[in-house]
Assembly symmetry: C2
Homo-oligomer: 181 residues x 2
DNA sequence: CCTAACATGTAATCGGTTACATGATTCT
DNA sequence: AGAATCATGTAACCGATTACATGTTAGG
């Protein structure tokens, strides 16, 4: 079973969803750590259904087109729980930013500075986004959600995102300053 | 042209290399930010040759099997320089660690703690590796290499790697402490 | 009427991994 | 003789993206 399968099961553990719902979530919130398009999600849901990890119910709608609502099965739940803490394979890293940085000595300094200033602005914007989401979660739960709550998992990842953007921003600032010197 | 092409051109800007040399580098040092196996590298070198971005010379050896040595051409150099500062597309992120963290509220606390302690140890080991490489570079150049030197690019990426592992480690420690509480 | 959002699929292609395949040379 | 390293390739498969394809409902 692929990582996408577990990504979907993880979402279905939080409640019923259609393929369309999942596609939206993978485009927005989840995009911090996982990505998928509808063209990958629909076939994957079929596979999960064939494996008995999810079940589907067709829902007639009058105000919207009909839809297929997916739910996780006990078997799916079991597979998900087993996967979460299983040994984590070390994934190959691929960062285009650092691939470019690896050749940064070849380009004119002023242009390099402009490039990283642009990246810095992007990173700061992302960090602010995470900070706002974190603040909203903290407000809703009057602090850190308890670790049995699904909001805790969300909180932990948002916190990571925020700290990570801070680190990237600091490195960018160091690089800009060093190129200027 | 693919990112791998530019990754290869970037290495060839640092000197002549065989496909075998490149495969070693992508497995070891470059693995911090890019990855490739020989099965991908050999065909890619063919493509680059057909595009006139690299040239090849066959070298007869007596103490080793014969080999094909690749060099970047002026056209390849031009393509590389143009790519380095071109607009950076935002790449889809996929982190299995954070995909799992997204469902961490589902598993027993003590097992989760053990899992992240293990990750923490990995991360610390990686950070120490980067720190040692950084220290060696600093010693060799009596400080930070100048920004026109290829060692500067290497230095910048090593510094990023070190700071990044520090950030990941700090987050892991926070997560472990919070799960314990 | 037209556009946007809802909703679900398939096909072609691409980048990357795993496995298959071969052979030279050195060192133990 | 056998293992390790050097050296170069191909083929099958898989995960993911882009493009193709279709149809509904709501709202301006």
């Amino acid at each position: 079973m692929s990582k996408l399968s577990f990504a979907i099961l993880g979402q279905l553990m939080r409640g019923s969803r259609t393929g369309y719902d999942l596609a939206q979530e993978f485009r927005d919130g989840l995009s911090q750590f996982w990505h998928a398009k509808h063209s990958q999600i629909y076939p994957e849901l079929q596979k999960l259904k064939d494996l008995g990890q999810v079940k589907v119910s067709e829902v007639r709608q009058s105000s919207r087109p009909d839809k297929k609502v997916y739910n996780i099965t006990p078997a799916g739940e079991c597979a998900l729980l087993e996967w979460i803490l299983s040994p984590l394979p070390d994934a190959p890293v691929r960062s285009e930013l650092h691939l470019r940085t690896h050749s940064i000595h070849l380009v004119p300094k002023d242009q390099a500075i402009a490039f990283y200033k642009n990246e810095l602005a992007r990173t700061e914007a992302e960090r602010e986004g995470f900070e706002m989401q974190l603040a909203r979660l903290e407000a809703a739960f009057s602090g850190i959600p308890s670790s049995e709550n699904e909001a805790f998992s969300t909180y932990a990842n948002l916190k990571f995102g925020m700290e990570n953007r801070r680190q990237v921003a600091e490195w960018s600032r160091w690089l800009i300053a060093t190129l200027k010197a």
